[in-house]
Amino acid sequence: MISVQLFFISFFGLAAVWFAVVVFRTHSMMRSALALLFSQTALGAMFIGMQAEFLGVLQIMMMATEMSIMAIFMVMFMMDPGGLGKMDMTHQKRLSVIAGLVAFVAVVVVAVFADWGPLASSVPDAAQQIEDLGLELLGRSMLIFETAGLTILTAMIAATAVAVEPIKRNRD
Protein backbone atom coordinates (compact mmCIF):
# COMPACT_ATOMS: atom_id res chain seq x y z
CA MET A 1 0.00 0.00 0.00
CA ILE A 2 2.67 2.44 1.07
CA SER A 3 4.68 1.76 -2.09
CA VAL A 4 1.69 2.51 -4.35
CA GLN A 5 1.20 5.74 -2.42
CA LEU A 6 4.88 6.57 -2.76
CA PHE A 7 4.77 5.86 -6.48
CA PHE A 8 1.86 8.23 -7.06
CA ILE A 9 3.35 10.97 -4.89
CA SER A 10 6.66 10.71 -6.76
CA PHE A 11 4.92 10.57 -10.13
CA PHE A 12 2.88 13.69 -9.51
CA GLY A 13 5.86 15.37 -7.87
CA LEU A 14 7.93 14.82 -11.01
CA ALA A 15 4.99 15.99 -13.15
CA ALA A 16 4.75 19.17 -11.06
CA VAL A 17 8.46 19.86 -11.53
CA TRP A 18 8.31 19.09 -15.24
CA PHE A 19 5.36 21.42 -15.87
CA ALA A 20 7.10 24.08 -13.78
CA VAL A 21 10.11 23.82 -16.10
CA VAL A 22 7.78 24.10 -19.12
CA VAL A 23 6.50 27.41 -17.72
CA PHE A 24 9.89 28.98 -18.44
CA ARG A 25 10.83 27.03 -21.53
CA THR A 26 7.88 28.07 -23.67
CA HIS A 27 7.52 31.42 -25.45
CA SER A 28 3.73 31.30 -25.49
CA MET A 29 2.07 33.07 -22.57
CA MET A 30 -0.92 30.78 -22.83
CA ARG A 31 1.20 27.63 -22.67
CA SER A 32 3.16 29.13 -19.82
CA ALA A 33 0.03 29.90 -17.79
CA LEU A 34 -1.55 26.51 -18.40
CA ALA A 35 1.72 24.70 -17.68
CA LEU A 36 1.74 26.44 -14.32
CA LEU A 37 -1.86 25.30 -13.86
CA PHE A 38 -0.96 21.68 -14.53
CA SER A 39 2.01 21.98 -12.21
CA GLN A 40 -0.38 23.12 -9.48
CA THR A 41 -2.88 20.40 -10.40
CA ALA A 42 -0.10 17.85 -9.96
CA LEU A 43 0.56 19.33 -6.52
CA GLY A 44 -3.13 18.87 -5.74
CA ALA A 45 -2.86 15.26 -6.83
CA MET A 46 0.13 14.90 -4.49
CA PHE A 47 -2.01 16.16 -1.60
CA ILE A 48 -4.62 13.53 -2.45
CA GLY A 49 -1.82 10.97 -2.56
CA MET A 50 -0.84 12.10 0.92
CA GLN A 51 -4.42 11.45 2.13
CA ALA A 52 -5.25 15.16 2.43
CA GLU A 53 -8.26 14.81 0.18
CA PHE A 54 -9.99 18.10 0.91
CA LEU A 55 -6.82 20.12 0.46
CA GLY A 56 -6.03 18.34 -2.81
CA VAL A 57 -9.48 18.76 -4.34
CA LEU A 58 -9.55 22.41 -3.24
CA GLN A 59 -6.13 23.01 -4.81
CA ILE A 60 -7.20 21.37 -8.07
CA MET A 61 -10.37 23.46 -8.17
CA MET A 62 -8.98 26.84 -7.18
CA MET A 63 -5.92 26.75 -9.42
CA ALA A 64 -7.91 26.14 -12.63
CA THR A 65 -9.79 29.41 -12.24
CA GLU A 66 -6.84 31.38 -10.95
CA MET A 67 -4.38 30.33 -13.64
CA SER A 68 -6.97 30.87 -16.38
CA ILE A 69 -7.52 34.42 -15.15
CA MET A 70 -3.76 34.88 -14.97
CA ALA A 71 -3.57 33.65 -18.58
CA ILE A 72 -5.82 36.41 -19.88
CA PHE A 73 -3.76 39.05 -18.08
CA MET A 74 -0.54 37.62 -19.48
CA VAL A 75 -2.02 37.64 -22.97
CA MET A 76 -3.24 41.20 -22.51
CA PHE A 77 -0.04 42.69 -21.14
CA MET A 78 2.82 40.80 -22.77
CA MET A 79 4.20 42.00 -26.08
CA ASP A 80 4.28 38.63 -27.83
CA PRO A 81 1.59 36.50 -26.15
CA GLY A 82 1.58 33.75 -28.79
CA GLY A 83 5.36 33.38 -28.69
CA LEU A 84 5.43 33.28 -32.49
CA GLY A 85 7.78 36.26 -32.70
CA LYS A 86 10.40 34.40 -30.65
CA MET A 87 10.81 37.48 -28.52
CA ASP A 88 12.99 37.06 -25.45
CA MET A 89 10.93 38.25 -22.51
CA THR A 90 13.36 37.21 -19.79
CA HIS A 91 15.76 39.54 -18.07
CA GLN A 92 18.29 39.64 -15.20
CA LYS A 93 19.15 36.03 -15.91
CA ARG A 94 22.20 35.75 -13.67
CA LEU A 95 20.34 37.21 -10.70
CA SER A 96 17.41 34.84 -11.35
CA VAL A 97 19.69 31.80 -11.51
CA ILE A 98 21.44 32.74 -8.26
CA ALA A 99 18.18 33.57 -6.49
CA GLY A 100 16.66 30.30 -7.69
CA LEU A 101 19.63 28.24 -6.48
CA VAL A 102 19.74 29.98 -3.10
CA ALA A 103 16.01 29.43 -2.60
CA PHE A 104 16.35 25.78 -3.62
CA VAL A 105 19.20 25.17 -1.19
CA ALA A 106 17.27 26.95 1.56
CA VAL A 107 14.20 24.78 0.97
CA VAL A 108 16.29 21.60 0.96
CA VAL A 109 18.08 22.64 4.17
CA VAL A 110 14.78 23.37 5.90
CA ALA A 111 13.24 20.11 4.65
CA VAL A 112 16.17 17.98 5.80
CA PHE A 113 17.28 19.67 9.01
CA ALA A 114 14.07 21.07 10.50
CA ASP A 115 12.55 19.25 13.45
CA TRP A 116 9.19 18.15 12.09
CA GLY A 117 8.07 16.53 15.33
CA PRO A 118 6.89 12.94 15.68
CA LEU A 119 5.35 11.23 12.63
CA ALA A 120 1.58 10.79 12.75
CA SER A 121 0.88 7.10 13.18
CA SER A 122 -2.57 7.27 11.62
CA VAL A 123 -4.58 9.70 9.53
CA PRO A 124 -8.25 10.39 10.27
CA ASP A 125 -10.52 9.43 7.37
CA ALA A 126 -11.42 12.04 4.77
CA ALA A 127 -14.89 12.87 6.14
CA GLN A 128 -13.44 13.30 9.65
CA GLN A 129 -10.72 15.57 8.24
CA ILE A 130 -13.34 17.87 6.71
CA GLU A 131 -15.26 18.01 9.98
CA ASP A 132 -12.08 18.77 11.93
CA LEU A 133 -11.16 21.47 9.44
CA GLY A 134 -14.60 23.07 9.73
CA LEU A 135 -14.41 23.09 13.52
CA GLU A 136 -10.91 24.52 13.36
CA LEU A 137 -12.00 27.31 11.01
CA LEU A 138 -14.87 28.27 13.28
CA GLY A 139 -12.89 27.81 16.47
CA ARG A 140 -9.28 28.53 17.26
CA SER A 141 -8.38 29.84 13.79
CA MET A 142 -11.52 31.90 13.25
CA LEU A 143 -9.89 35.27 13.86
CA ILE A 144 -7.01 34.60 11.47
CA PHE A 145 -9.25 33.42 8.65
CA GLU A 146 -11.87 36.12 9.09
CA THR A 147 -9.15 38.76 9.12
CA ALA A 148 -7.62 37.32 5.97
CA GLY A 149 -11.03 37.15 4.30
CA LEU A 150 -11.86 40.72 5.21
CA THR A 151 -8.47 41.92 3.97
CA ILE A 152 -8.97 40.20 0.63
CA LEU A 153 -12.47 41.64 0.34
CA THR A 154 -11.12 45.13 1.04
CA ALA A 155 -8.45 44.65 -1.59
CA MET A 156 -11.07 43.48 -4.09
CA ILE A 157 -13.30 46.48 -3.47
CA ALA A 158 -10.32 48.85 -3.64
CA ALA A 159 -9.10 47.27 -6.89
CA THR A 160 -12.55 47.58 -8.43
CA ALA A 161 -12.86 51.17 -7.28
CA VAL A 162 -9.52 52.00 -8.88
CA ALA A 163 -10.36 50.16 -12.08
CA VAL A 164 -13.80 51.57 -12.89
CA GLU A 165 -14.08 54.71 -14.90
CA PRO A 166 -15.16 57.64 -12.75
CA ILE A 167 -18.71 58.81 -13.38
CA LYS A 168 -18.74 62.09 -15.26
CA ARG A 169 -21.01 64.20 -13.16
CA ASN A 170 -21.00 67.44 -15.07
CA ARG A 171 -22.53 66.31 -18.34
CA ASP A 172 -23.72 69.74 -19.39
Partner: protein, 298 residues
Protein backbone atom coordinates in the same frame (compact mmCIF):
# COMPACT_ATOMS: atom_id res chain seq x y z
CA UNK B 1 -18.10 -3.43 -13.32
CA UNK B 2 -19.83 -0.39 -11.83
CA UNK B 3 -17.51 1.86 -13.79
CA UNK B 4 -18.31 0.11 -17.06
CA UNK B 5 -22.05 0.24 -16.34
CA UNK B 6 -21.96 3.95 -15.51
CA UNK B 7 -19.91 4.71 -18.62
CA UNK B 8 -22.47 2.81 -20.67
CA UNK B 9 -25.32 4.71 -19.01
CA UNK B 10 -23.53 8.01 -19.67
CA UNK B 11 -23.18 7.06 -23.33
CA UNK B 12 -26.88 6.25 -23.54
CA UNK B 13 -27.64 9.47 -21.66
CA UNK B 14 -25.50 11.54 -24.03
CA UNK B 15 -27.32 9.95 -26.96
CA UNK B 16 -30.69 10.86 -25.45
CA UNK B 17 -29.47 14.42 -24.79
CA UNK B 18 -28.66 14.69 -28.50
CA UNK B 19 -32.15 13.41 -29.39
CA UNK B 20 -33.83 15.82 -26.97
CA UNK B 21 -31.68 18.70 -28.21
CA UNK B 22 -32.69 17.94 -31.80
CA UNK B 23 -36.31 17.91 -30.65
CA UNK B 24 -36.04 21.27 -28.90
CA UNK B 25 -34.57 22.88 -32.01
CA UNK B 26 -36.56 21.18 -34.76
CA UNK B 27 -39.72 20.05 -32.94
CA UNK B 28 -39.41 16.53 -34.32
CA UNK B 29 -38.41 13.27 -32.66
CA UNK B 30 -35.66 11.73 -34.74
CA UNK B 31 -34.18 8.81 -32.85
CA UNK B 32 -31.50 8.09 -35.43
CA UNK B 33 -30.37 11.70 -35.90
CA UNK B 34 -27.35 11.46 -33.55
CA UNK B 35 -26.14 8.32 -35.35
CA UNK B 36 -26.32 9.88 -38.79
CA UNK B 37 -24.79 13.14 -37.52
CA UNK B 38 -22.02 11.15 -35.84
CA UNK B 39 -21.28 9.13 -38.96
CA UNK B 40 -21.26 12.30 -41.03
CA UNK B 41 -18.78 13.95 -38.65
CA UNK B 42 -16.51 10.91 -38.52
CA UNK B 43 -16.57 10.63 -42.29
CA UNK B 44 -15.43 14.19 -42.82
CA UNK B 45 -11.87 15.42 -42.99
CA UNK B 46 -10.56 16.75 -39.67
CA UNK B 47 -8.66 19.89 -40.60
CA UNK B 48 -5.81 21.29 -38.52
CA UNK B 49 -5.56 25.06 -39.00
CA UNK B 50 -2.24 26.62 -39.96
CA UNK B 51 -0.10 28.02 -37.14
CA UNK B 52 -2.31 26.34 -34.57
CA UNK B 53 -1.08 25.56 -31.09
CA UNK B 54 -1.17 21.86 -31.81
CA UNK B 55 -1.02 20.66 -28.18
CA UNK B 56 -4.00 22.76 -27.09
CA UNK B 57 -5.90 22.05 -30.29
CA UNK B 58 -5.66 18.30 -29.77
CA UNK B 59 -6.09 18.25 -26.00
CA UNK B 60 -9.11 20.57 -25.72
CA UNK B 61 -11.92 18.25 -26.96
CA UNK B 62 -10.53 15.34 -24.95
CA UNK B 63 -10.18 17.44 -21.80
CA UNK B 64 -13.79 18.62 -22.13
CA UNK B 65 -14.97 15.03 -22.33
CA UNK B 66 -12.73 13.86 -19.49
CA UNK B 67 -13.73 16.63 -17.07
CA UNK B 68 -17.42 15.85 -17.61
CA UNK B 69 -16.75 12.12 -17.13
CA UNK B 70 -14.68 12.61 -13.99
CA UNK B 71 -17.38 14.78 -12.43
CA UNK B 72 -19.82 11.93 -13.03
CA UNK B 73 -17.73 9.48 -10.98
CA UNK B 74 -19.05 10.84 -7.67
CA UNK B 75 -22.73 10.97 -8.70
CA UNK B 76 -24.91 8.14 -7.37
CA UNK B 77 -27.62 6.76 -9.68
CA UNK B 78 -28.86 4.25 -7.08
CA UNK B 79 -27.59 3.70 -3.52
CA UNK B 80 -24.98 1.26 -4.88
CA UNK B 81 -24.45 2.53 -8.40
CA UNK B 82 -21.65 5.02 -7.87
CA UNK B 83 -18.04 4.79 -8.99
CA UNK B 84 -16.46 6.38 -5.94
CA UNK B 85 -18.24 7.93 -2.97
CA UNK B 86 -15.62 10.55 -2.11
CA UNK B 87 -15.82 12.34 1.21
CA UNK B 88 -15.34 15.58 -0.73
CA UNK B 89 -17.90 14.62 -3.41
CA UNK B 90 -19.83 17.88 -3.72
CA UNK B 91 -16.58 19.84 -3.93
CA UNK B 92 -15.01 17.32 -6.28
CA UNK B 93 -17.76 17.89 -8.87
CA UNK B 94 -16.84 21.57 -8.97
CA UNK B 95 -13.15 20.77 -9.18
CA UNK B 96 -13.72 18.50 -12.18
CA UNK B 97 -16.09 20.87 -13.95
CA UNK B 98 -13.74 23.86 -13.69
CA UNK B 99 -11.61 22.06 -16.26
CA UNK B 100 -14.42 22.67 -18.75
CA UNK B 101 -13.16 26.24 -18.65
CA UNK B 102 -9.58 25.13 -19.23
CA UNK B 103 -10.70 22.98 -22.17
CA UNK B 104 -12.64 25.84 -23.75
CA UNK B 105 -9.74 28.26 -23.27
CA UNK B 106 -7.47 25.74 -25.00
CA UNK B 107 -10.02 25.25 -27.79
CA UNK B 108 -10.24 29.03 -28.15
CA UNK B 109 -6.52 29.69 -28.18
CA UNK B 110 -5.34 26.56 -29.98
CA UNK B 111 -6.59 26.98 -33.55
CA UNK B 112 -5.33 30.58 -33.97
CA UNK B 113 -8.68 31.81 -35.22
CA UNK B 114 -10.43 35.05 -34.28
CA UNK B 115 -13.88 33.58 -33.67
CA UNK B 116 -12.53 30.73 -31.60
CA UNK B 117 -10.39 33.06 -29.53
CA UNK B 118 -13.29 35.39 -28.74
CA UNK B 119 -15.44 32.38 -27.84
CA UNK B 120 -12.76 31.01 -25.51
CA UNK B 121 -12.19 34.26 -23.61
CA UNK B 122 -15.92 34.85 -23.44
CA UNK B 123 -16.26 31.64 -21.47
CA UNK B 124 -13.74 32.93 -18.95
CA UNK B 125 -16.02 35.92 -18.37
CA UNK B 126 -18.95 33.56 -18.19
CA UNK B 127 -17.19 31.53 -15.48
CA UNK B 128 -16.64 34.70 -13.43
CA UNK B 129 -20.41 35.15 -13.63
CA UNK B 130 -21.71 31.66 -12.88
CA UNK B 131 -19.00 30.12 -10.67
CA UNK B 132 -20.24 31.59 -7.39
CA UNK B 133 -23.80 30.56 -8.24
CA UNK B 134 -22.67 26.95 -8.47
CA UNK B 135 -20.62 26.92 -5.28
CA UNK B 136 -22.89 28.92 -2.98
CA UNK B 137 -26.11 26.91 -3.52
CA UNK B 138 -24.03 23.72 -3.13
CA UNK B 139 -22.86 25.10 0.21
CA UNK B 140 -26.49 25.31 1.35
CA UNK B 141 -27.11 21.76 0.11
CA UNK B 142 -24.07 20.49 2.03
CA UNK B 143 -25.24 22.40 5.12
CA UNK B 144 -28.49 20.46 5.19
CA UNK B 145 -26.79 17.12 4.58
CA UNK B 146 -24.00 18.00 7.04
CA UNK B 147 -21.73 16.23 4.60
CA UNK B 148 -20.09 16.55 1.19
CA UNK B 149 -20.78 12.88 0.41
CA UNK B 150 -23.18 12.80 -2.52
CA UNK B 151 -24.97 9.71 -1.16
CA UNK B 152 -25.43 11.51 2.16
CA UNK B 153 -26.85 14.52 0.30
CA UNK B 154 -29.46 12.30 -1.34
CA UNK B 155 -30.24 10.62 1.99
CA UNK B 156 -30.77 14.04 3.63
CA UNK B 157 -33.68 14.66 1.26
CA UNK B 158 -35.69 11.62 2.37
CA UNK B 159 -38.40 13.73 4.03
CA UNK B 160 -38.42 16.70 1.72
CA UNK B 161 -36.55 17.26 -1.52
CA UNK B 162 -34.20 20.22 -1.62
CA UNK B 163 -36.13 21.76 -4.50
CA UNK B 164 -38.90 22.43 -1.96
CA UNK B 165 -36.62 22.99 1.04
CA UNK B 166 -34.42 25.53 -0.76
CA UNK B 167 -36.20 26.54 -3.99
CA UNK B 168 -34.10 29.68 -4.36
CA UNK B 169 -30.92 27.63 -4.34
CA UNK B 170 -32.37 25.31 -6.97
CA UNK B 171 -33.21 28.17 -9.34
CA UNK B 172 -29.74 29.72 -8.95
CA UNK B 173 -27.99 26.37 -9.38
CA UNK B 174 -30.10 25.46 -12.39
CA UNK B 175 -29.36 28.74 -14.17
CA UNK B 176 -25.66 28.49 -13.31
CA UNK B 177 -25.56 24.88 -14.56
CA UNK B 178 -27.05 26.01 -17.87
CA UNK B 179 -24.33 28.65 -18.10
CA UNK B 180 -21.67 26.05 -17.29
CA UNK B 181 -22.92 23.80 -20.09
CA UNK B 182 -23.08 26.86 -22.39
CA UNK B 183 -26.69 26.14 -23.29
CA UNK B 184 -28.87 28.88 -24.77
CA UNK B 185 -29.32 31.68 -23.72
CA UNK B 186 -25.80 31.38 -22.27
CA UNK B 187 -24.16 29.98 -25.41
CA UNK B 188 -21.84 32.98 -25.64
CA UNK B 189 -18.86 30.76 -26.24
CA UNK B 190 -20.25 28.98 -29.30
CA UNK B 191 -22.83 31.57 -30.47
CA UNK B 192 -23.59 30.23 -33.91
CA UNK B 193 -25.20 33.40 -35.19
CA UNK B 194 -22.40 35.81 -34.28
CA UNK B 195 -19.22 33.75 -33.86
CA UNK B 196 -19.94 31.01 -36.41
CA UNK B 197 -19.52 28.37 -33.72
CA UNK B 198 -16.94 30.20 -31.58
CA UNK B 199 -14.70 27.62 -29.94
CA UNK B 200 -16.14 24.98 -32.27
CA UNK B 201 -15.54 27.09 -35.38
CA UNK B 202 -12.15 25.66 -36.34
CA UNK B 203 -12.90 22.06 -35.40
CA UNK B 204 -14.11 19.55 -37.93
CA UNK B 205 -14.42 15.82 -38.41
CA UNK B 206 -13.50 13.48 -35.57
CA UNK B 207 -12.20 16.28 -33.32
CA UNK B 208 -15.52 18.10 -33.55
CA UNK B 209 -17.30 14.81 -32.84
CA UNK B 210 -15.31 14.41 -29.60
CA UNK B 211 -15.99 18.04 -28.70
CA UNK B 212 -19.74 17.65 -29.22
CA UNK B 213 -19.75 14.35 -27.32
CA UNK B 214 -17.98 16.09 -24.43
CA UNK B 215 -20.65 18.75 -24.38
CA UNK B 216 -23.46 16.17 -24.39
CA UNK B 217 -21.83 14.30 -21.49
CA UNK B 218 -21.45 17.63 -19.70
CA UNK B 219 -25.18 18.28 -20.01
CA UNK B 220 -26.11 14.83 -18.70
CA UNK B 221 -23.59 15.17 -15.85
CA UNK B 222 -25.06 18.52 -14.82
CA UNK B 223 -28.60 17.18 -15.03
CA UNK B 224 -27.55 14.27 -12.78
CA UNK B 225 -25.89 16.73 -10.38
CA UNK B 226 -29.12 18.75 -10.21
CA UNK B 227 -31.10 15.58 -9.51
CA UNK B 228 -28.68 14.46 -6.77
CA UNK B 229 -28.54 17.88 -5.10
CA UNK B 230 -32.15 19.02 -5.41
CA UNK B 231 -34.53 16.32 -6.62
CA UNK B 232 -33.85 13.61 -4.09
CA UNK B 233 -31.65 11.49 -6.36
CA UNK B 234 -32.99 7.97 -6.69
CA UNK B 235 -35.81 8.45 -4.16
CA UNK B 236 -39.45 8.04 -5.12
CA UNK B 237 -42.44 5.73 -4.57
CA UNK B 238 -43.40 2.52 -6.48
CA UNK B 239 -40.67 2.50 -9.11
CA UNK B 240 -37.18 1.06 -8.49
CA UNK B 241 -34.39 3.59 -7.69
CA UNK B 242 -32.70 3.41 -11.11
CA UNK B 243 -35.99 4.23 -12.86
CA UNK B 244 -36.52 7.30 -10.69
CA UNK B 245 -32.98 8.47 -11.38
CA UNK B 246 -33.47 7.99 -15.13
CA UNK B 247 -36.83 9.77 -15.22
CA UNK B 248 -35.62 12.72 -13.18
CA UNK B 249 -32.36 13.10 -15.08
CA UNK B 250 -34.10 13.07 -18.45
CA UNK B 251 -36.75 15.52 -17.25
CA UNK B 252 -34.10 17.93 -15.96
CA UNK B 253 -32.17 17.56 -19.22
CA UNK B 254 -35.26 18.38 -21.25
CA UNK B 255 -35.98 21.37 -19.01
CA UNK B 256 -32.39 22.61 -19.37
CA UNK B 257 -32.52 22.34 -23.15
CA UNK B 258 -36.00 23.86 -23.43
CA UNK B 259 -35.65 26.67 -20.89
CA UNK B 260 -33.45 28.89 -22.98
CA UNK B 261 -34.88 28.16 -26.41
CA UNK B 262 -37.28 31.11 -26.51
CA UNK B 263 -34.85 33.60 -24.98
CA UNK B 264 -32.39 35.77 -26.86
CA UNK B 265 -28.69 35.22 -26.16
CA UNK B 266 -27.66 37.24 -23.13
CA UNK B 267 -24.88 39.79 -23.44
CA UNK B 268 -21.65 39.14 -21.51
CA UNK B 269 -21.96 42.37 -19.49
CA UNK B 270 -25.62 41.71 -18.72
CA UNK B 271 -24.79 38.19 -17.55
CA UNK B 272 -22.11 39.51 -15.20
CA UNK B 273 -24.42 42.24 -13.94
CA UNK B 274 -27.24 39.81 -13.33
CA UNK B 275 -25.11 37.19 -11.61
CA UNK B 276 -23.14 39.51 -9.34
CA UNK B 277 -25.74 42.12 -8.45
CA UNK B 278 -28.75 39.84 -8.20
CA UNK B 279 -27.50 36.24 -8.11
CA UNK B 280 -24.86 36.46 -5.39
CA UNK B 281 -27.03 38.42 -2.90
CA UNK B 282 -29.79 35.87 -3.50
CA UNK B 283 -27.32 33.02 -2.99
CA UNK B 284 -26.21 34.57 0.32
CA UNK B 285 -29.85 34.97 1.32
CA UNK B 286 -30.39 31.31 0.43
CA UNK B 287 -27.52 30.22 2.69
CA UNK B 288 -28.91 32.37 5.51
CA UNK B 289 -32.49 31.11 5.13
CA UNK B 290 -31.38 27.48 4.90
CA UNK B 291 -29.23 28.04 8.00
CA UNK B 292 -32.29 29.27 9.90
CA UNK B 293 -34.45 26.44 8.57
CA UNK B 294 -31.91 23.84 9.68
CA UNK B 295 -32.05 25.25 13.21
CA UNK B 296 -35.84 25.20 13.48
CA UNK B 297 -36.78 22.29 11.19
CA UNK B 298 -33.91 19.97 10.28
Amino acid sequence: MTTALILLLLAVGAYLVAVIEAWTTSGRWRLTAPITAGIALLGRESIVPRKSDRVFFEVAPVLLLISALIAATVLPLTPDLIITDLATGALFINAALVYVLVALLMAGWGPDGAYAMIGGWRFLGQLIAYAMLIVMPVTAVAMRAESLLTTQIVASQADLWNILYQPLGFVLFFVAAMALAFLPPFDLTTANSELAGGVEAEYSGVRLAVFRLGRLVLVITLATTTVVFYLGGWQGPWLPPWAWSAIKILAVTALMLLAGRALPRIREADLLNLCWKLGIPLALLNIFVVGLLILVWP
